[in-house]
Symmetry: C2
Subunit: 211 residues, 2 copies
């Protein structure tokens, strides 16, 4: 956005003296309020200045950041989620590692009949176990997984921002995207997707392309 010399000057004045009224700005420029009206409209519409009734104009240099924040918080987990990779609870640690390599994911979700979430197993969990001298062909993932209700989850309608925040707060690489099973006694959740730092990275790259 190209600003005229006078518009640049107005911004400087508001930055320095804001909040400041239109009359006061006009005075400083030796112009009438009417002359400035189009410039002030343009600067306000463009989000560079903000006008508050009975207060005046002030500089909103954070306009760009707010545009960005708005956009980021509007995108939903459901818009970017991946296909979940699931294994049953009696899957051996060995088979879990093989599945992880074949599917090229960092986290597996452990489910029972109906795709209901029982737990999650990360690369870290598997690495720790393979190091521990267990018989990984016999040991089931159910023994080493993080079990419900200690699993951090996300929902399709959560904002990507909230889900990304959860990844950081709980220091996990991925969250199962779930749907609460209506009327279930035990607070059952069906796994319907996977949300990871890779999804965030992909979205970030897409946003940077101005897509």
């Amino acid at each position: 956005m190209e600003l005229s010399k006078r518009q640049e000057t107005i911004i400087e004045i508001v930055k320095k003296h804001g909040p400041i009224t239109g009359e006061q700005i006009a005075e400083k420029l030796n112009l009438t309020r009417a002359t400035l009206r189009p410039d002030l409209s343009i600067l306000t519409m463009a989000g560079l200045l903000e006008a508050r009734p009975r207060v005046g104009y002030f500089y909103s240099g954070k306009a760009t950041d707010r545009v960005l924040a708005d956009k980021i918080t509007r995108i939903k987990v459901g818009d970017v989620k991946s296909v979940p990779i699931v294994v049953p609870e009696d899957c051996s640690v060995y088979d879990a590692v093989v599945t992880m390599f074949i599917e090229d994911v960092g986290t597996l979700y452990v489910v029972r009949q109906g795709g209901l979430l029982e737990g999650v197993v990360s690369r870290k969990d598997l690495l720790k176990t393979t190091l521990g001298g267990h018989d990984i062909h016999k040991l089931p993932v159910g023994v080493i997984m993080t079990r419900m209700p200690n699993v951090h989850m996300t929902f399709e309608n959560d904002s990507v921002w909230l889900a990304a925040h959860k990844l950081l707060t709980h220091e996990v690489d991925s969250l199962p995207v779930v749907r609460a099973v209506p009327g279930s006694k035990h607070k059952d959740y069906e796994v319907i997707g996977r949300f990871s730092k890779t999804n965030v990275t992909r979205l970030f790259v897409e946003l940077g392309e101005g897509a």
Copy 2:
């Protein structure tokens, strides 16, 4: 940004008929070009319409996305990078795993004297090795690492966008942030940081806060 009824109408016309000249828009609205001038200025300044000499106005609904893209591509790797976790080439696989757990990182950088990059070792590499029945107390990471010049790297002055793009393209979780050693015969790179999907996720969350 609040638009007047007339400005909304102008946008609709340009969306449908653009590129279209100011005269043509005025004609459709039964107004003079002069009457429309302030509206067209405001819409152009706000980035909603674009004007090209001898072509006319066209709709740039992607204005918001461009603001965002501009911002994302301006942030540098050096602004967000983390401390690198390094091990020497003769470090055993067992000690590498222990370092990874203690430091809580997904990738280790293998360096020689002077912090010069020799290779990288990921959780995946270590998991594959612990599974393979090797004597991980004796096997050095130098044997299993991805070795230079096959390591994907990034520089402090690269945009975060470019680095994130590299993470996706090369399907890696992290890139060593390096500085070329001036005058080195063998194209040596000193490791000065770590850039991972966690850094991207953290930045994404910060941007969403409008920080």
